[in-house]
């Protein structure tokens, strides 16, 4: 019964987001359409993190690494396409591209490989050590991006022409929202499906009781590592979209602040609730835009909201809307 309630709450939330974008477009307010795109993309990044943090119990404080790598994959490939300079000349020539699908593929690949390496080392620890090691890896990538002048270093890298998507005008705010929202729906569907599968059962047990998982004949380490990689790929996809939304990628996308923000989305929306991070990202962006318009001190409100959630409403926004999470 609670399952259906959560389903209804999730559909209503997603419909509200799409409705807001459509309404803003009809009202001739592309600013608000872009705001909805921002929510969809940050929500997507949070959905990725939630897979590791909420469902797998891996509190990664370094997911900005994947968000930023996805962003840089997008920025660098587009930069090469814009300057007609091949990305690689040896051992074979690789040209840049200004189309989203292959860029997403590269972003996913880069993030997947990075997560496999980072996860293989970090997942040998747990608890606060895991948090610190993921943070350390993300900071290493952050400082590398700052000190590597080829792609803008500290100043970042502009994407002068937004990348294309077959059949759509990506400069049209509503079309771009459609792409971001579509990506979000795909990630939600894939995550939901995944969590109900055998792998999901194992990942859930890796969080709830790793001793039981091993005793049931399933080694927790490869289960966690796979979950971490899938999580990173989704967050990286969001990073590539975010770079296109802003037409800009900079080391800020890799900074620990962003890792923290992603955790805030997950906690605010409801840890381990599928659509939770979207609700969290929406709340964050709304606060930032509307309260932030009135006072610079909007993070104070955010802090209080977060405190309230942690102290009184562990289920976050989804918990308030749909009651406690239930397993069958």
């Amino acid at each position: 019964m609670d399952k259906t309630r959560e389903m209804v709450a999730s559909v209503v939330l997603l419909a509200a987001l799409a409705g807001a974008a459509l309404w803003a477009d009809a009202a001739g307010e592309p600013f608000y359409v872009n705001l909805a795109s921002r929510v969809a993309i940050l929500g997507l990044a949070g959905v990725g993190l939630n897979l590791a943090l909420g469902f797998g119990g891996m509190v990664s404080f370094g997911h900005a690494a994947f968000f930023g790598l996805g962003g840089y994959a997008c920025g660098i490939i587009a930069w090469h396409a814009g300057n007609y300079e091949p990305i690689l000349t040896w051992p074979f020539e690789v040209e840049g591209t200004d189309r989203m699908p292959p860029i997403w593929g590269v972003a996913a690949l880069v993030c997947g490989l990075a997560a496999a390496a980072i996860g293989a080392l970090s997942l040998r620890t747990s608890g606060v050590y895991f948090i610190m090691i993921t943070l350390a890896f993300a900071q290493m990538i952050y400082w590398f991006a700052i000190s590597w002048p080829a792609y803008g270093g500290e100043d970042g890298l502009s994407i002068y022409v937004r990348n294309g998507f077959p059949g759509l005008d990506t400069y049209d705010a509503l079309s771009f929202f459609g792409i971001a929202f579509g990506a979000l729906l795909v990630a939600l569907a894939v995550s939901g499906r995944l969590l109900g599968s055998r792998f999901g059962a194992a990942l859930t047990m890796a969080r709830l009781n790793p001793v039981r998982l091993a005793t049931a004949g399933i080694d927790p380490f490869p289960v966690r590592l796979t979950g971490f990689v899938i999580s990173a790929v989704i967050t990286g996809w969001a990073g590539a979209l975010y770079a296109d939304l802003n037409g800009f990628v900079s080391p800020t996308m890799l900074s620990w602040h962003l890792s923290g923000e992603l955790i805030v989305f997950v906690i605010l929306g409801g840890v381990g609730r599928l659509v939770g991070p979207v609700a969290g990202a929406a709340a964050y962006v709304l606060l930032e835009t509307f309260v932030g318009g009135a006072t610079e001190r909007w993070p104070l409100i955010l802090g209080l909201a977060l405190l309230g959630v942690v102290l009184f409403a562990r289920g976050g926004i989804m918990g308030a809307l749909a009651g406690r999470a239930r397993h069958d």
Binding site: R193, L194, G196, S197, R198, F199, G200, A201, A202, T204, M205, L208, N209, V211, R212, L213, A214, T215, A216, G217, I218, D219, P220, P222, V223, T226, R326, H327, D328
Partner: protein, 248 residues
């Protein structure tokens, strides 16, 4: 003679200056319940930990159905048929009893790296879990979250998890602990029927249960097996009486 289901050969483990397991050898033969008893601090938990694969021994070997598993991890030993229950129930409390058991069936049935098909519609898994639950007398309780089950029922769910592995040997760590007379009687009856399927290494404090159920008993004191043999022999052994049963 056929291979014992489980054999421990010359196992040694020391923590600093403390020898927790001192040259322990014992075996578990088809169809029997072999009880392991000993006072607190005798090294039972350390021994169980080494058999299950959580603790690496300093020397010695563990064989499961003739295969040397000393170098293998916990999960691999479980897949090879070492079923286990814990001294303190170790289940995932928010999940239903069925889900807990299905996970063990999943490992037996093949890979856990399947990402699409939904487990709740996976008839083979559900049926295997239901069969294991029925075997321990919990048919019809599968939907109940583990947290809402009674202490005794949780013990039984753990046994069902072990059975769902298709075990070659069962390692039950104080399964009677905390059960009332009725509960432990029911569990004792169950163990009697299970031993034909998979022999049981039973660690137990309840002496009545041990002397009623066990075919053989090994007595562990200060990391050493001081006596091992049929129940009657152990009961009469003066050294056991002195060291363990508190008589002289």
């Amino acid at each position: 003679m056929t291979e014992p289901a489980l054999a421990v050969e010359g196992l040694r483990k020391a923590f600093g200056g403390l020898t927790a397991t001192d040259d322990v050898s014992l075996d578990l033969r088809a169809g029997e319940i072999h009880a392991l008893i000993g006072p607190n601090g005798a090294g039972k938990s350390t021994l169980i930990g080494q058999i299950a694969g959580w603790i690496a021994p300093d020397a010695g070997r563990v064989r499961l159905a003739g295969r040397d598993v000393t170098g293998l991890g916990v999960a691999e030993r479980a897949r090879l048929g070492l079923g286990r229950s814990f001294q303190v129930s170790s289940l995932a409390a928010p999940l239903s009893a069925r889900r807990n058991v299905m996970l063990a069936a999943q490992a037996r049935e093949g890979s856990s790296f399947r990402f699409w098909r939904q487990v709740r519609r996976d008839r083979a898994l559900v049926a295997a879990a239901e069969a294991a639950l029925a075997r321990v007398g919990l048919a019809g309780r599968g939907n109940v979250p583990t947290a809402e089950l009674s202490h005794g029922e949780r013990r039984l769910v753990e046994v069902a998890c072990a059975l769902a592995l298709g075990p070659k040997a069962l390692l039950l760590d104080e399964p009677m602990a905390g059960l009332g007379a009725e509960g432990s009687g029911a569990l004792a009856d169950l163990l009697e029927t299970l031993k034909a399927e998979a022999p049981i290494l039973l660690v137990e404090h309840d002496m009545d249960a041990v002397f009623r159920l066990a075919d053989r008993v090994s007595v562990l004191v200060a990391g050493r097996v001081i006596a091992s043999g049929p129940v009657a022999e152990i009961r009469a052994d003066p050294e056991v009486r002195r060291a363990y049963l508190g008589e002289d």
